[in-house]
C-alpha cells in the first residue's frame, strides 16, 4: 500500500509558502523547513482558460486555472486542470488524479523526472 497522495507546498522559516518546492524560498532565500498539504484546503480561482490546441497526450479541451490558497494569513498559488467549468472567484478544492496527461505521448519520456499525477481543482 502506498500512502495517500499529498499536495505539498513548502513553508520557509519566515512563514512564506511556495508551490512548487524550490531549494530556497523565492521570497526570502531561506531553505524551506516545513510542508503544508494543500489538499486539505480550498482555493479561489484567479483566472482560467479553456484550450482546444493541446499537445500529444493531453485531454482536449483542457481547462486550466490559476488558484490561490490562503492559509494562516499567507497566500500561495497553484496552476492546475479543473474538473468542471469555473469562473474568476469560484471556490475550488483539489482532487487527486493519477494521470493528468498520457506519459510518453509528448516530448518528455514516460519514465524519468517528469511526474504525470497530480491535483485537479473541482468547484465546491
Amino acid at each position: 500500500m502506498t500512502d495517500a497522495p499529498v499536495f505539498a507546498a513548502v513553508r520557509c522559516p519566515n512563514g512564506h509558502l511556495s508551490y512548487p518546492e524550490h531549494p530556497v524560498c523565492p521570497e526570502c532565500g531561506e531553505p524551506p523547513d516545513g510542508t503544508v498539504d494543500l489538499s486539505e484546503h480550498t482555493a479561489e480561482v484567479i483566472t482560467w482558460t479553456r484550450t482546444t490546441a493541446t499537445p500529444p497526450g493531453v485531454r482536449e479541451p483542457n481547462e486550466l486555472a490559476i488558484v490561490e490558497f490562503e492559509i494562516d494569513g499567507e497566500t500561495v498559488r497553484a496552476l492546475g486542470q479543473t474538473t468542471d467549468a469555473v469562473e474568476i472567484g469560484t471556490t475550488v478544492e483539489p482532487v487527486y488524479a493519477d494521470q493528468l496527461r498520457e506519459p510518453g505521448a509528448g516530448i518528455k519520456p514516460a519514465t524519468g523526472p517528469q511526474e504525470y499525477d497530480g491535483w485537479r481543482f473541482e468547484p465546491v
Binding site: 511556495s18 508551490y19 512548487p20 523565492p26 484567479i46 483566472t47 482560467w48 482558460t49 479553456r50 484550450t51 482546444t52 490546441a53 493541446t54 499537445p55 500529444p56 497526450g57 493531453v58 485531454r59 483542457n62 486550466l64 486555472a65 490559476i66 498559488r77 497553484a78 496552476l79 492546475g80 486542470q81 474568476i88 493528468l100 496527461r101 509528448g106 516530448i107 518528455k108 523526472p113 517528469q114 511526474e115 504525470y116 499525477d117 497530480g118
Partner: protein, 336 residues
C-alpha cells in the same frame, strides 16, 4: 531556442561555421528559449565591447514547419516547470489565462486585443519577408476559432521557418567600413522572471521586460519618450499590451487606448511592430529577436520602404523568452 530540438540536430553552431567557410572562427550557440535572438545580440555586443572580438556574426534561425502544430507546441511547452507541464500547459494557455485576468481587471473589451492583430497584419502587408501578407478585420479575428479562451486563432503568431543575421563591430570600424550603413547599440539590458508563471505577484506585469528595459534605457541615457519605433515580442496579442506597459510606453491598463487611437500604427506617434511583428512576419523562435533588430536597422537607415517610420532616430526591440521568463531589450540609434 530550440536550435536543434525541432530537427534532432545538435551542434548547430559548428555546422553553420563550417557551411559558411568560417573555420577556425570561434562559435557558440546562445540559448534563451524564444528570447535567444535578443540574448544573441547581448552576447555579440559583449564580445565587441570586451575587446574579445573585432567582428562578430550573429545568426538566428529555426526550422519548425515540418512538425505538427501539436508537436511544435509540446516542444515549446517543455520549457515550463514540470509542475506546470504535467497539466498540459502550453504557452498559448498562459496567454489565455493572462488575457482573461487583464481584460477583467482593467475592464477592457475583447475587441481591443483584436485591434493588435489587425494592426500587425496591416503592417505585414508592406513587408515582403512577412509570412502573412493578408489584412484581417476585428470581425474576422473575433470569428476565428477559440484556441485558449478568450484568445482566438488570430491572437497567436504562426509556426515559422526563418532566419536573420547581424554583423557587429566597433563603432570606429563601422564608420570606416560602412559609414552610412550602420546603427549603434546605445543600450542593452537583460533580466529574468520566475520560471513558474503562477508565482508572479501580478500575472499581468512583465518584470523581466521592465527590468531589462530600465537597464537598456540607463545605458543609453534615454527614456521611453525618446523611442521613435519599437519591435515588441507579440507572440500573442496580449503580450503587446503587457510589453508596452512594462517598457513604459503606456500606464498599466492603458496600452489598449494607444493601439485603438492609432498611435502605434505606422504614421502614428510611436509605431510598434512596423515589420508586422511575430504575428504577421512569423516567429521562427531563434530568429525572431535578431529579426526585430534587422527591422530597426532598416528603419534607422531609411531602408524600410512602404513601412518607413518618420522620424526614426531611436528604436527599441524587446525579445521575450517563455511567458516573460526572461527578456532582453536593445536600443538602437542612428549614428550622429
Amino acid at each position: 531556442m530550440a536550435s536543434g530540438e525541432f530537427e534532432g540536430q545538435g551542434g548547430i553552431m559548428n555546422a553553420l561555421t563550417a557551411d559558411l567557410g568560417l573555420s577556425p572562427a570561434y562559435s557558440a550557440r546562445i540559448d534563451q528559449t524564444s528570447a535567444s535572438g535578443g540574448a544573441g545580440i547581448y552576447a555579440a555586443w559583449q564580445s565587441i565591447r570586451s575587446g574579445a572580438s573585432e567582428l562578430t556574426l550573429l545568426v538566428g534561425g529555426e526550422k519548425m514547419t515540418h512538425r505538427s502544430t501539436a508537436e511544435a507546441t509540446d516542444v515549446i511547452a517543455s520549457i515550463t516547470h514540470p509542475a506546470e507541464y504535467k497539466h498540459g500547459i502550453t504557452l498559448p494557455s498562459f496567454a489565455g489565462l493572462t488575457a482573461r485576468l487583464y481584460l477583467d481587471r482593467y475592464g477592457v473589451s475583447r475587441e481591443r486585443l483584436a485591434e493588435v492583430a489587425v494592426k500587425n497584419h496591416r503592417h505585414g502587408l508592406a513587408n515582403g519577408r512577412a509570412q502573412f501578407r493578408t489584412a484581417v478585420t476585428v470581425e474576422k479575428v473575433l470569428e476565428s476559432p477559440i484556441v485558449a479562451d478568450p484568445l482566438r486563432l488570430y491572437d497567436f503568431c504562426p509556426i515559422t521557418d526563418g532566419s536573420a543575421a547581424l554583423l557587429f563591430t566597433s563603432r570606429e570600424r563601422a564608420e570606416e567600413l560602412r559609414p552610412d550603413e550602420h546603427v549603434v547599440v546605445s543600450g542593452i539590458g537583460g533580466a529574468s522572471d520566475t520560471h513558474v508563471v503562477h508565482e508572479r505577484a501580478d500575472p499581468t506585469w512583465m518584470d523581466a521586460v521592465a527590468d531589462s528595459s530600465n537597464e537598456a534605457f540607463d545605458r543609453a541615457g534615454l527614456g521611453p519618450e525618446a523611442v521613435d519605433v519599437a519591435e515588441l515580442h507579440d507572440m500573442f496579442t496580449i503580450l503587446e499590451f503587457l510589453q508596452m506597459e512594462a517598457v513604459g510606453f503606456a500606464e498599466r491598463g492603458r496600452a489598449p487606448e494607444r493601439v485603438r487611437a492609432g498611435e502605434t500604427t505606422v504614421g502614428g506617434e510611436l509605431p510598434i511592430n512596423p515589420s508586422g511583428g511575430l504575428k504577421s512576419k512569423g516567429h521562427p523562435l531563434g530568429a525572431s529577436g535578431v529579426a526585430q533588430a534587422v527591422e530597426l536597422y532598416e528603419q534607422l537607415t531609411g531602408r524600410a520602404g512602404d513601412r518607413q517610420v518618420e522620424p526614426a532616430e531611436a528604436g527599441l526591440a524587446c525579445s521575450v523568452g517563455g511567458f516573460g521568463n526572461c527578456a532582453t531589450t536593445t536600443l538602437l540609434e542612428a549614428p550622429r
